[in-house]
Amino acid sequence: MTVEVQKYTMEQVEALEVAPGADHENLEGWVPALATDDALRDALEKAFDYRGDVTLTLKSGERIEAYIFNRHTAATLDNSCVQYFAPDDPEKHKVSYAEIARIEFTGKDRAAGKHWEDWVKNYNERKAAGETNIALAPDALE
């Protein structure tokens, strides 16, 4: 997440026993209201952090399903842009914030359900059921 809610002093850092870590929001299926420029910027920042595809609807009416991997922010929406990869297209693309009318977090969140606790629970359940050679498989490439 890009919003820095707290800054640590050197003393606090050196004394840290356990890292607090970041909280990941459940964004799958979210369609943010983009009433203001700030709301648009915030939504695109979240789209940049999101580990799944989003669908952008441009003011031209064009719809783009894509994985947003980068953003450049500037003082104006015209000068700010996101970079994305669309499925079945090898090229990187870019679109200005000013062209974006709607964002939908349509793709599956690929990081969801992959916490350590999920694995421990999964392992214990499978072991209790008598399974051997327990493993998590990578996501299928579909």
Partner: protein
């Protein structure tokens, strides 16, 4: 230290040349991620959680060579994803070796044994095998029973064929220092050149955010593990970085020391944080707001990081550019770091915990 003299010479002269040229920022190791696909699905890994169309993408050998030339670093680490899944990995490795780059191909070794005939042993090529501990611990950590045994077969075959081999371990919260030391005994007995290790770090992109040590705990753990060293142990790392992990010295993060290049471009600011991408190495060095990162910045994302990608570079530079650092580095190669407090810590860790049971990975403690 288990690093060959020719490699040390290459790195030391590279560091000195850059210093004499007055360069403030230069890189020692390029982290080249040619793809994000992996054959494992380790809980906690933040490198592989992408939609399928991203996982199918990969850098071409030409893109890899261009990045390596542009960066100029004498060493190239190839993590991923699993690099052996790249259909042109042999071509990439051969091209880097031909450029006299010291290549560390980081692999989970599930495919290593049967892929070895495709590679040629060279002082420039090291297989750096991901092993996080002894069998039970590693298998649980990578979420796959049997992974350790397969990796060991690959290691032994690679050693037999004359390849340089290291192991590469990440230690997370809850690791028993006695197990870590026993693991060092095991891998050294297999004939590996040395051990590479690092503490885990709760970078934003990792799905798991709750099993990462803060700096105080990292230092205690590594002091227990790395004090009272056995003569058989060799580390493929700067001794000064190991002293940093033990809390004996302090360095500031040098994120540009090990920059990352992947299908998205040059990653800002470091291997673990993804705050954006730029199209060139020059742009990375010149446009990244470096003051926003590292412990002195107060950035909470950097608060618990003591990872080699940020802190080994300053240790290496210290060792090759100051007499004090050079002497400490030389001393570190022979020092066994005797420490009675660390021995006490080991015996306390070995004592059975009353009324509690730990799962095999030591992450979960339950009342019995």
């Amino acid at each position: 230290m288990a690093i060959p003299i020719s490699q040390m010479w290459t790195v030391s002269t590279y560091v000195l040349k850059n210093r004499l040229a007055g360069r403030k920022r230069f890189s020692l190791t390029l982290m080249l991620e040619p793809l994000f696909r992996c054959s494992l699905a380790c809980a906690g890994c933040g490198k592989v959680q992408y939609p399928p169309h991203i996982l199918k993408r990969q850098l071409t050998p030409e893109e890899c060579f261009a990045a390596v030339e542009e960066c100029g670093a004498p060493m190239v680490a190839i993590p991923g994803g699993e690099p052996l899944l790249h259909p042109q990995i042999t071509e990439i490795v051969n091209g880097l070796v031909a450029r006299k780059k010291y290549v560390y191909l980081c692999t989970n070794a599930l495919e290593l044994k049967h892929r070895l005939p495709e590679f040629t042993p060279s002082k420039y090529l090291t297989f750096s095998v991901h092993l996080d501990g002894q069998r039970e611990h590693h298998d649980f950590g990578v979420c796959r029973d049997g992974a350790y045994d397969i990796a060991i077969e690959g290691i032994k075959e690679a050693v037999r064929r004359g390849f340089r081999v290291t192991t590469n371990a990440t230690f997370f919260d809850g690791v028993d220092p006695n197990n870590a030391r026993a693991f060092f005994d095991e891998v050294m007995a297999m004939g590996v050149e040395g051990i590479i290790l690092s503490p885990g770090y709760s970078y934003d992109k990792a799905p798991d955010q709750h099993h990462f040590m803060g700096r105080a705990r990292v230092r205690r753990l590594f002091r227990a593990i790395l004090s009272n060293r056995k003569p058989t142990w060799k580390f493929n790392m700067s001794p000064l970085f190991l002293e940093f992990l033990m809390g004996d010295r302090n360095y500031e993060c040098v994120p540009w020391g090990m920059p990352t290049y992947n299908i998205f471009g040059w990653q800002k600011p470091c291997y673990l944080l993804q705050d954006g991408f730029v199209d060139s190495y020059k742009e990375l060095l010149e446009t990244t707001d470096w003051e926003k990162y590292g412990v002195p910045s107060g950035n909470p994302k950097c608060a618990n990081c003591m990872v080699s990608c940020g802190y080994e570079t300053p240790a290496v530079i210290d060792g090759f550019t100051t007499w004090k650092g050079f002497l400490a580095m030389a001393r570190g190669n022979f020092n066994k770091y005797p420490d009675s407090q660390a021995l006490k810590q080991l015996s306390e860790a070995a004592a059975p915990a009353e009324q509690t049971e730990q799962c095999c990975c030591c992450h979960e403690e339950t009342k019995s």
